[in-house]
């Protein structure tokens, strides 16, 4: 009996599973997107909201922290704001480069509770882009967002958290 046909099939399975490991990366994002499981909010600019729910009010709090070693402070002007679902809201963040070198920062947002992530829409956010900051420079960033009117009723408050990374060295590496 020739072993070649079975051997070929088994090797194909192996190659397929190796590819599958890499396919898990986009699949993971799609799965999280669809289910909103891990609090990963969208990094795309959202559409304008069309209606406002005047009857309801939700508390949105902000927290930021710099990844260890990242020489930045980022602070929101307000600790927490009350918003009506559908209504646009602007919040100012003050960011500062604490080092004496030019740096590039990237903020990565996350929403808690995780299931509320897909109901928080950002129209403008400093997290959409890499932000170059000169040595010691202090800038103001604007976050423009609204909460979806479809937000489940049991969510009364949500937290938008930013982790700030120093990506200057990675940019050098890839250039």
């Amino acid at each position: 009996m020739s072993h070649a046909p079975l051997l070929k099939r088994l090797v194909l399975i192996c190659l397929g599973m190796f590819a599958f490991a890499f396919a898990l990366v986009p699949l993971y994002d799609v799965f999280c997107d669809v289910t909103g499981l891990n609090g990963k909010p969208s990094l795309e600019q959202a559409k304008q909201s069309t209606s406002i729910n005047e009857a309801r009010e939700v508390d949105v709090s902000f927290t930021t922290h710099a990844q260890s070693g990242a020489p930045f402070t980022v602070q929101s002007a307000e600790y927490s704001v009350a918003v009506k679902p559908g209504a646009m809201r602007e919040v100012v963040f003050k960011a500062k480069n604490l080092s004496n070198e030019d740096k590039v920062m990237q903020a990565v947002p996350s929403v808690s509770p995780g299931k509320a992530a897909k109901y928080l829409h950002k129209m403008a956010c400093f997290c959409f882009d890499q932000q170059p900051l000169k040595a010691g420079e202090e800038v103001e960033f604007k976050l423009l967002f609204y909460v979806d009117t479809e937000l489940p009723d049991d969510v009364e408050e949500l937290t938008l958290s930013y982790t700030v990374f120093d990506i200057s060295s990675q940019l050098v590496a890839s250039n």
Binding site: L6, L10, V11, C14, L15, M17, A21, K40, Q67, I167
Partner: protein
């Protein structure tokens, strides 16, 4: 079936072309394509790795003998826990099972050799280099891998030195070796069974290995993918697991455990096969519920793909997902329970005798079940928040891996050693090995449950004072267990050198084709396929 016969003729013709006698000296082992030689190589390699990994465990236990830092730096301690795990999983347990498969699968199905003998030679001989690379990394500046055998990102990407590169290449080679071994086992079992050996007549060791081999080719490539991503994240500026670049460190855990959980069953399913072979022999009864054993093994293998996130209950999954993984995990205890009850039912009213392989098998059944129960406790999501990353977890997986997988390998080694060497081993010494191992392994691992439940974290070189007494006891058990294994080396060595000659059928209750060939098994067996009744 004529094609099968013809193929055997071809094999016989090959051997007449000057391959009839093994070459002399080292070349015999380097160039061998004989399944028995390669099986022996795997087993000797695995025993060596077992001793090296064991020595690392001794370092860990010596440091933990007393609270405070005495013997080694915390960073070196972390390297010991990491490399101990990697060596025991990939160097000791998996090659031991592959060695047993090489030796026994062709004998059990009446085939003259493995289907792909040259690939078989390769799959063994790349393995020593993988572990040479891994062990060499311990001597590089900054030390070897210290991120745990699970190499979670970012520990293995951002926070490690260049040992990550060596680690990744070592794992690649181990993976390729396992995949080639698994492919060989599948092709052998599917294509080379003796005429009349239908699927439901396959010995259970062959069945469990077939299923294990499919698990291997399904998940080892995923592991290869995971280490490749770690490598490119560290050296080629990708961001699979780096949140700053849009990646996600939690995704590493998903990918790793998608490999990792089936891997757990890769290390236990062949053990089930060995126990299902030995228990009927010494109970002098047929195995109770053969078909249910086959189905149970298959369902365990299938379920193993949908339970991975029970390793990650504390990563902040939503309740729905935690419930799903909790129930799916608990479901596995059903087919596992079927197996345990079948073994007990096989022994029920049998005329049992307590030869050394049977002693190890009975210890396996009792202690593996105990490890299964602590696994059930860990499966309960809210309880897991308390147990996660404590010594309770360490106790759990050592019960299933040491008194489970390793005990089954010992049982198999004692069961087939007379067949391999033609000599009976020194029974008195072997019984000493068993009883010393049995007592010391429980002194070693049982108190870990208590310190774990009381909150002692794993992978830490120091601990709070209230754990001191238990840790001293655990360490004493550890040293005793480690020394007891030297007895095993002595027994194997003496048995290979000589001893009382044994007949073809070594154990009077044994069944199967492997007992129809002489002891020691001749270099070439079943060149004409046997008759299956």
């Amino acid at each position: 079936m004529s094609s099968v016969t013809q193929q055997h003729d071809n094999t016989a013709a090959d051997h007449d072309d000057g391959h009839h006698h093994p070459a002399k000296g080292f070349k015999r082992w380097l160039f061998t394509t004989n399944h028995k030689d390669i099986g022996s190589l795997y087993l000797i390699f695995s025993l060596t790795m077992f001793l090296i990994g064991g020595a690392m465990a001794m370092v860990i236990r010596a440091e933990l003998f007393q609270p405070g830092l005495q013997l080694v730096e915390p960073h070196f301690f972390n390297q010991m826990t990491t490399v101990h795990g990697l060596i025991m999983v990939f160097g000791a347990v998996m090659p031991a099972f592959t060695g047993l498969a090489n030796w026994m699968v062709p004998l059990m199905i009446g085939a003259p050799d493995m289907a792909l003998p040259r690939m078989n030679n390769w799959s063994f001989w790349i393995l020593p280099f993988a572990f040479l690379i891994l062990l060499a990394s311990l001597f590089m500046p900054g030390g070897g891998p210290a991120f745990g055998w699970t190499f979670y990102a970012p520990l293995s990407t951002t926070y490690s030195n260049d040992n990550t590169a060596l680690f990744v290449f070592a794992v690649h080679i181990m993976g390729i070796s396992s995949i080639m071994g698994a492919i060989n086992v599948i092709v052998t079992i599917v294509n080379m069974r003796a005429p009349g050996m239908t699927w439901m007549k396959l010995p259970l060791f062959v069945w469990t290995w077939l299923i294990t081999a499919f698990l291997l080719i399904a998940v080892m490539p995923v592991l290869a993918g995971a280490v490749t991503m770690v490598l490119t994240d560290k050296y080629f500026a990708t961001s699979f697991f780096d949140a700053a670049g849009g990646g996600d460190p939690v995704m590493f855990q998903h990918i790793f455990w998608f490999f990792g959980h089936p891997e757990v069953y890769i290390m236990i399913l062949p053990a089930f096969g060995i126990i299902s072979t030995i228990v009927p022999t010494f109970s002098r009864k047929k195995l109770f519920g053969y078909a249910s054993m086959v189905y149970a093994t298959s369902s365990i293998a299938l379920l193993s793909f949908i339970v991975w996130a029970h390793h990650m209950f504390t990563t902040g999954m939503p309740v729905a997902a935690e419930l799903f993984f909790m129930y799916a995990t608990m479901l596995i205890s059903v087919p596992t329970g079927v197996k345990v009850f079948n073994w007990v039912a096989t022994m029920w009213r049998g005329s049992i005798s307590f030869e050394v392989p049977m002693l190890f098998s009975i210890a396996f059944i009792v202690l593996f079940t105990l490890g299964g129960f602590s696994g059930l406790m860990l499966a309960i999501t809210p309880a897991d928040f308390q147990y996660h990353d404590t010594y309770f977890v360490v106790a759990h997986f050592h019960y299933v891996l040491v008194t489970g997988a390793v005990f089954s390998i010992m049982a198999g080694a004692y069961y087939w050693l007379p067949k391999w060497t033609g000599n009976m081993f020194n029974i008195t010494l072997a019984k000493w090995h068993f009883w010393l191992s049995l007592v010391s392994v429980n002194v070693l691992f049982f108190p870990m449950h208590f310190v774990g439940l009381a909150g002692m974290p794993r992978r830490i070189p120091d601990y709070a004072l209230q754990f001191a007494d238990f840790n001293a006891i655990i360490s004493l058990g550890g040293f005793a267990f480690g020394l007891s294994q030297l007895l095993f080396v002595v027994v194997v060595f003496k048995c290979a050198r000589g001893g009382n000659k044994v007949p073809a059928k070594v154990w009077d209750g044994a069944e199967g084709l492997e007992w129809e060939v002489d002891s020691p098994a001749p270099y070439h067996t079943f060149e004409t396929p046997p008759e299956i009744k």
